[in-house]
Amino acid sequence: MADRPLLATDRVRAYLTLVPYLLERGQVSLAEAAREFDVSTTDMRTMVEKLTVIGLPGDSGYWQQPHELFDINWDLLDEEDIIEITNDVGLRRVPRFTAREAAALLAGLQMVAAVPAVSDSGLVAGLLAKLARAAADAPADVVIAPSAVDEVRDAVSAALRRGVAVSFRYQAPDSAPTTRTVDPVQVLITNGQWYLQGWCHLREAMRTFHLDRVSEPELTDIPISHADAAVPDAFGGAVDDAEVTVRLPRRLVPLLGDYVRADNTREIGDDVIVGIRLSDPRGIKRVAGRFGGRLEVSEPDTARSATREWAAAGLALYRHP
């Protein structure tokens, strides 16, 4: 539920959809309407109460007549927390999508088009056309380049759908390959990468697997047994992980992506210091490698020297051709 204060325009926007929503659905509980509009029940109650002073224009010097204003069933609201509009003076129809709403949904559709359950439905093309036609103004073109679905992504999706464990070879960076059997819980798709989150039978814990590092996937016939376990924070790191401190210019911070949260950064002049939790601090060498020296690993020393040695080993390839 949103805890930020509602602005006047938020409320106007909500009214334009709330009225047709209530008229279409008849009686709606305060809690349900609040959930639907992502506001607190207190805000929803206030909005519905205030609706009764909204209406058609009145003549100068005169109050509007009751039938010229919206009205609600006050008893029902006071006694049972149920909203019902008993007189309506307009706003009966659902408004068109704003350009922004259409653009946000159009981009979202392109993003989910790769999800097997969606691509199998064959509904995306029709929806794209409908949304474009139902917008008040032409939405800005926001294009999400499609990502390919390969054998691994397919297998993992099938395991999710069938509710069975999937086993595969997993090659984590800087470690020997392992064979894992995982109860799939969720596929996370972010920054163009696919991750499987699920219960790892080997580690007996929830884990996140980068699908690029997965090979030889095979569906098992083991029904999943940990589907309700909490999905881990994919990039937050575990509490007992070591913290690596890095320093970089502020304008490069977005390139750190999901490593950056509100609570792990502080600013010094034009630089930002970020604390990143990693199970192996030396793993930062790969992150630092993307910044060409503009990100500096400060602490711990093991991480700093690992970064230097990693780059030096790379450079050595070019000194001895």
Binding site: A8, T9, V12, R13, L16, E36, V53, L56, P57, G58, S60, Q64, V89, G90, L91, R93, V94, P95, R96, R100, E101, A103, A104, L105, A107, G108, L109, A114, V115, A117, L127, K130, D137, A138, A140, V142, V143, I144, A145, S157, R161, Q171, P177, V187, L188, I189, T190, N191, G192, R286, A288, G289, G292, G293, R304, T307, R308, A311, A312, G314
Partner: protein, 333 residues
């Protein structure tokens, strides 16, 4: 009547009033009769203050997608003193012939959940809500997939506004390898997420040619100017932008040697074609690809092109320098 009527009430009253009229209301009629203005007029608010309030309300409602039409004097369209205002139903209402099936709503609900940015997410949710207000309930939600779109660059929002309003923008753009950013003047036509990076595609006014810029290389603020451009330029812009980047990728190929079984072999292998010796991998931006290759350290060696090889060597050298043993010089910059 001393109570002040909050702006949301006044603005909603204005929408109701302008939708209830066929011929339109003049500004004076609105100020005299619509609740929220009327009371202020009665308590002696100055006429110009009320008019300003009406202009602001009109702008805010238009920003919410409410199509407020101005019907001017046909003999002098610039004279707005007697102009009438109305909201045509045909332009306000979601077209009656558009409906959504429960299966479609389920897909849209997933599509509406992908934005991690608060404002885009709120927009997507508001869109889904409108469909729900039609009385449609979705099928069972599509579970097990959490696709996410992130747009962390602050330039994203002003660029989107400029595209919507067909207005020229200016921004400072820092090309890799250059010391100072250069001012670009652009007619932005589309935003494009390609290989997990946001690009803006449009017409570079100084070069008078189509260009694609990376949002991550925009330095400072994007300025949306008052200068407009022809909205016809936007038609099909997204497809052109995508085709353009794909064409670039098909022209640029690197020949690499990778150590089998490593992270580099796995990640690059996805995009690679096997060669007699090593693999060939297409890329869009030399500098971004060099950044990625440098992160693999000794797991990959660039054979060609030479510019890419030099770019990787330069990065590795800089990393070594900035992580020198001498901690005192390294850390107290």
């Amino acid at each position: 009547m001393a109570t002040r009527i909050p702006p949301e009430e006044r603005q909603t009253n204005l929408v109701v009033a302008l939708m209830a009229t066929e011929i339109g209301l003049t500004k004076q009629q609105i100020l005299d009769s619509v609740s929220g203005y009327r009371q202020r007029a009665e308590t002696g608010a100055r006429a110009d203050a009320l008019e300003k309030m009406f202009e602001r309300d009109k702008d805010e409602l238009r920003a919410l997608g409410v199509p407020i039409e101005t019907i001017g004097d046909p003999s002098d369209p610039t004279d707005l003193r007697e102009a009438r205002y109305r909201i045509p139903k045909a332009e306000y209402d979601l077209p009656a012939d558009i409906s959504f099936s429960p299966a479609e709503l389920a897909v849209l609900q997933l599509a509406g959940s992908v934005w991690s940015a608060e404002s885009a997410s709120a927009d997507a949710q508001a869109g889904v809500r409108k469909i729900r207000a039609l009385g449609i309930d979705g099928d069972e939600p599509i579970i097990g997939f959490a696709p996410r779109i992130t747009a962390r660059e602050t330039s994203f929002a002003p660029l989107q506004t400029a595209i919507e309003e067909c207005r020229t923008v200016t921004f400072e753009y820092l090309k890799p390898g250059e010391q100072t950013p250069r001012l670009r003047v652009m007619e932005p036509l589309a935003l494009l997420d390609f290989e997990a990076r946001w690009h803006v595609y449009g017409i570079d006014v100084d070069a008078d040619a189509e260009r694609t810029f990376l949002l991550s290389r925009i330095v400072g603020d994007v300025t949306v100017t008052k200068k407009g451009f022809d909205s016809a330029l936007r038609e099909g812009a997204g497809d052109r932008a995508l085709a353009g980047l794909r064409a670039v990728a098909s022209r640029n190929t690197a020949l690499l040697e990778v150590t089998p079984g490593t992270e580099a072999a796995l990640r690059l292998g996805r995009r690679a074609k096997a060669e007699v010796q090593g693999i060939s991998v297409p890329f869009v931006d030399l500098h971004i690809f060099a950044d990625e290759l440098a992160s693999y350290g000794p797991e990959v060696r660039v054979v060609e092109p030479a510019v890419l090889r030099d770019a990787v060597i330069e990065r590795l050298t800089a990393i070594i320098a900035s992580h020198a043993d001498d901690a005192a010089t390294g850390r107290d910059r």
